[in-house]
Amino acid sequence: MAFRHIRRSLSIELIKKNRMSKPYPYTRSDSSRSEAQLSLENILQGATPGAVSTHSRAILEPSVKPRDAKPRLLLMGLRRSGKSSIASVVFHKMPPNETLFLESTTRIQKDSIHSFMDFQVWDFPGQLEYLEPSFDLEDIFGSLGALVWVIDAQDDYLDSVARLNRTILTVQQYYPGINIEVFIHKVDALSEEYRQDAYQDIVQRITDELNDCGYENAPVHFYLTSIYDYSVFEAFSKVIQKLIPNLSTLENLITTLGNNCGFEKTYLFDVLSKIYIASDTRPVDMASYEMCSDYIDVIVDISELYSWDHPLRKAKGEQMQEAESHVVLHDDTMLHLMEMNKYLCLVSVIRNPEAREKKGLIDMNCRTFQEALNDVFSRSWEREEDQTT
């Protein structure tokens, strides 16, 4: 039976995960550091071989200040490669064709994003020579989550690749665990063939160079992106996911939910940026991502039209406080959306013919998931900390 009541299995899962998410014996003794930072470190360490990791901890540890250590995303690349456009489209909802009018960035733009997880986006001017000794590397890369390097694929990219390599080699000496994410950008205008060629070429050049300098298996990831379609959101989703504490817990929860409810694909979206912060373990396909993301738009837009306040508007009865919506399309695909909290919503694609009759059960399972999710994100460690002080 595809539809089981999953309350029990989920809560067991959650207990197990809670136990597992404290793998470090020093968590308890070292109360000045939050679990978020630990998990972040954990991820960073996970990307490097064991021998380096002890070293990295030694370097990272003094830099981690309590509370003020939001993971940081650095947007870097040559000038006019599209860094500010990416930031505006993804984090400020700017329509892509309006990015043409963006002025070139002259100083570091620091954006704080307050969402399910607080993080900062630093947008660097392309011409800035941050590797010069006058810049405090510690200040820039200190509490780094990821370095996003944007390469303009329509332009001659050799310069950019060379500069990226220099940056990687410098940064990795001091902060070997940093995630390097390379966006091969503006690919919308390239033909499919040329796109693949450029991708291959860039990947080859960077890995070769790094290997030559004795830096093997560097944590460098490559994405083909464009602001005119969903690829940049998808790429950012992947980048952000690496910074999320408890990601595996979330993914497990979503997979359990999806399996029990017969969902084909489930995403946990950040409503504002439409980045998905977790999804079930089935492969992501662009079609379902696009539909889910557009469905959020539909609901947000409709809500805008009908959420006006007026003293005469009164409720006629009891109702859930969180929004819930579903649509059945012409081919009997169902899209189901449920608000989880202020920032997050869960969107699933359901192609199970039974789903329409068992809608109530699906809703209930999603509510259960919501409780579990809010437990994971409730930042219980912060409350514990408050109590101890």
């Binding site: 469905y295 539909v298 409709i302 039209l305 009908y306 959420s307 919506s325 649509v327």
Partner: protein, 338 residues
């Protein structure tokens, strides 16, 4: 008897490059705004039959606007083009540099129309409004539409400012089709009675393939909604999502659609569902799960009676409270003057 003659001739005219074919493609052929640049110039007249509300066929004559064509329409083709016209849609380009010449041509068209179909409706769209800065839009539009009115002879002209890049296009076309639907008063009477019964804030009827607003009723509270262009915006939102669904389920936009959509939020509940073969109904009811479910059930039940009424165009066999107006029979069809 006029109401039963279901083919209606719609003339689409205006200067070359003013955007006639673009808007036709967006509204009736499921184009998206950025794809219309692929359209070439219309040569002579392109005829198309657009099924609207199932039993109403619009016989759309998209008339190429180059001067040479214009001359033939007004001279040798005059009788052929301008007879039996139900609606003339004349498109003005707001950016045009020869306003006076445009108006002269318009006036000549109006003359011809008066000769052959004096009872036709005339709609003038002042198009490409997106090219004007937002703060000047209203003023320039009003200037232009008063100029148009002064050259319209005895015809009562409806003018709309429009742009293919936002919802104003839907507003203009919803206004046009609103005039064309034969049994609209029956539908409206039914809807308002129905809305009252289920305590809805607003009930909107959308045409299925174009997602144009056929008609809508709102309660006293629903009328207080500060967003006046919500119907057009809904058309725009839903049609965009239909395109997205079509793209991602590998079908054509024409065959994509929704079976049903429910949305519950703390401020409102919305139900969108197939109503008759050719319409979607869109209900907005206040929060309250039980009341909402009731409203949805009632809608399903009302469907049958309504589709009968919409198909026959008469009020027989149609469960309605006694009509408010005694001369109900006469108002059943909008007399378009055939």
């Amino acid at each position: 008897m006029d109401a039963r003659k279901k083919k209606r001739k719609v003339l689409l005219m205006g200067k070359s490059g003013s955007g006639k074919s673009s808007m036709r493609s967006i509204i009736f052929s499921n184009y998206v705004a950025k794809d219309v640049r692929r359209l070439g110039a219309t040569i002579d007249v392109e005829h198309s039959h657009v099924k609207f509300m199932g039993n109403l066929t619009l016989n759309l004559w998209d008339c190429g606007g180059q001067d040479a064509f214009m001359e033939t329409y007004l001279a040798s083709q005059r009788g052929n083009i301008f007879s039996d016209v139900a609606v003339l849609i004349y498109v003005f380009d707001i950016e045009s540099r020869e306003v006076d010449r445009d108006l002269d041509t318009y006036n000549a068209v109006i003359e011809a129309l008066r000769e052959f179909s004096p009872n036709a409706y005339v709609f003038c769209l002042v198009h490409k409004m997106d090219l004007i800065q937002a703060e000047h839009r209203q003023r320039i539009y009003e200037e232009r539409s008063s100029l148009i009115r002064s050259r319209s002879e005895h015809f009562r002209v409806d003018t709309f400012g429009s742009s293919i890049w936002d919802q104003s296009l839907y507003k203009a076309w919803a206004g046009i089709v609103h005039k064309l639907i034969p049994n609209l008063t029956v539908i409206e009477r039914f809807l308002s009675a129905f809305a009252k019964k289920i305590d809805a804030e607003e009930v909107i009827l959308f045409e299925r393939s174009t997602f144009l607003t056929v008609t809508s009723v709102s309660s006293e509270i629903g009328d207080l909604n500060p967003i006046y262009d919500r119907h057009e915006r809904l058309s725009n939102i839903m049609k965009a999502f239909k395109h997205c669904a079509a793209r991602n389920t590998l079908t054509t936009p024409a065959s994509a659609g929704f079976v049903v959509m429910h949305t519950k939020t703390p401020q409102f509940n919305i139900f969108l569902g197939r109503f008759t073969d050719n319409t979607y109904i869109f209900l907005v009811v206040p929060p309250g799960e039980a009341a909402y479910n009731c409203a949805v059930l009632n809608t399903m039940l009302a469907r049958e009676g309504f589709s009968k009424a919409a198909a026959s165009g008469r009020s027989d066999g149609f469960p309605l409270p006694p009509p408010e107006t005694p001369d109900d029979g006469a108002s059943n069809g909008v007399n378009l003057g055939f």
